[in-house]
Symmetry: C2
Amino acid sequence: MRTVFFISDRTGITAEALGNSLLTQFPQIDFKRVNLAFIDTQKKAQTAAQLIKEASETDGQAALIFSTQVSNEYRHLLENSGGIIFDFFETYISKMEKILETQSSHEMGLSHGVGNKNTYSGRIDSINFALNNDDGLTTKNYETADIILTGVSRSGKTPTCLFLALQYGIYAANYPLIDEDLDTSKLPNALKGFKNKLYGLSINPVRLQNIRDVRRSNSGYASIEQCRKEVRRAEDMFVQNDVPYIDTSHISIEEIAGRILQKSKLERRY
Amino acid sequence: MRTVFFISDRTGITAEALGNSLLTQFPQIDFKRVNLAFIDTQKKAQTAAQLIKEASETDGQAALIFSTQVSNEYRHLLENSGGIIFDFFETYISKMEKILETQSSHEMGLSHGVGNKNTYSGRIDSINFALNNDDGLTTKNYETADIILTGVSRSGKTPTCLFLALQYGIYAANYPLIDEDLDTSKLPNALKGFKNKLYGLSINPVRLQNIRDVRRSNSGYASIEQCRKEVRRAEDMFVQNDVPYIDTSHISIEEIAGRILQKSKLERRY
């Protein structure tokens, strides 16, 4: 067992994301992860250093520290804890200062928070858009949508729309393909005027069955025949109408959203 | 103008997050940001290198490249583009190999996607939980909730719940405090049995007025008197009942979620 600390003066999401990406390159090792967020006072930095020291002693080997710590002073405290530090700021800031021929501000907490009001309100607007235009609740705002996802029930439309809103500020609506839509391979009326905004989600029928079975066990809705039929007809509709689509069976929400963004050449709003 | 490229063999979210954090340390410089995601073939890497070359020529100075590129081969292509590369993988992987006394796998795409099925389904469950238990829609699942956010209308409950679900897999419900709840400083009946799961959101009344005014202009709901009254009474209720609360006026959704997580000592589910 080797303890890994993610330490940041803010949420620690960036330190965690990059740190975890690096750790996946060592699947043979069993890591214990500890996230210490908002380490923004000397006292908190001292406490963090103490925790690192104790973990290193317990493990019998130095803990790893992934940090995005802007303050030199607090970073030194972490460095002297007995752990091995990978500081994502320190590594790059001095190289960047040289290349950009200027000093960095060394201010904490700049990447989020105050001063971001437009981004913040904008993203709340995007989330509200996703919620108000989820699951075909209404189809009257498609003029305003950046993208309209469509696919059968449980193909991943809602979480993908919410992720597009939260991460990129995209206005994403979604429209579920139900039995009556799937009787023909023509686009449903509500979608006809918005062909250039459509993106299809498809899914492996067995995976779909598994997901639906959790919701409504042993129902017709969750039967493999129904799942196969719906997926086949939905894909026929996508192909027939030149709607691009993605198979969501084996990829994460982040990746579905990222690929859709890339393929449809959408820019983040915020 | 200086062009900055974020390049990854996956979504590029990590490269963007860390790269942007670093760029905020240089507020005096005007950066143009380009995100190139899913650079996972030699051809795509060559195209990326060409774009970097052209941007550097147009700007009259070398573009910056923030990259999380696992493949050495593709990284070399980027290095030879004339841009200056900050590769978050290369910098750390060899140091980690030495410390961990083992080889890294150097496989692309490990941080997301296939193999993460439990995490993926888990987070979808969390998102569904947030959606089904949003805005007091129902109060019957509070037994299952990890946390229940409460506050006046438009204090940020829904986006915070969704972010807790998406980022951390937390089961987060939310309950809106309406006029009749605020007639007294006692907890609403629906919340009484769950005091240890409650977290309050508060907000500056002027900011609340601005937000509400966009929704329902010049309404009683958006009047400053109404906003002041609701916020004051909600805070009284939090204090009276020892419910911890956070002012959401000037911080991002990530930070609200991060601070709540830290204060309530909740662990991520996925």
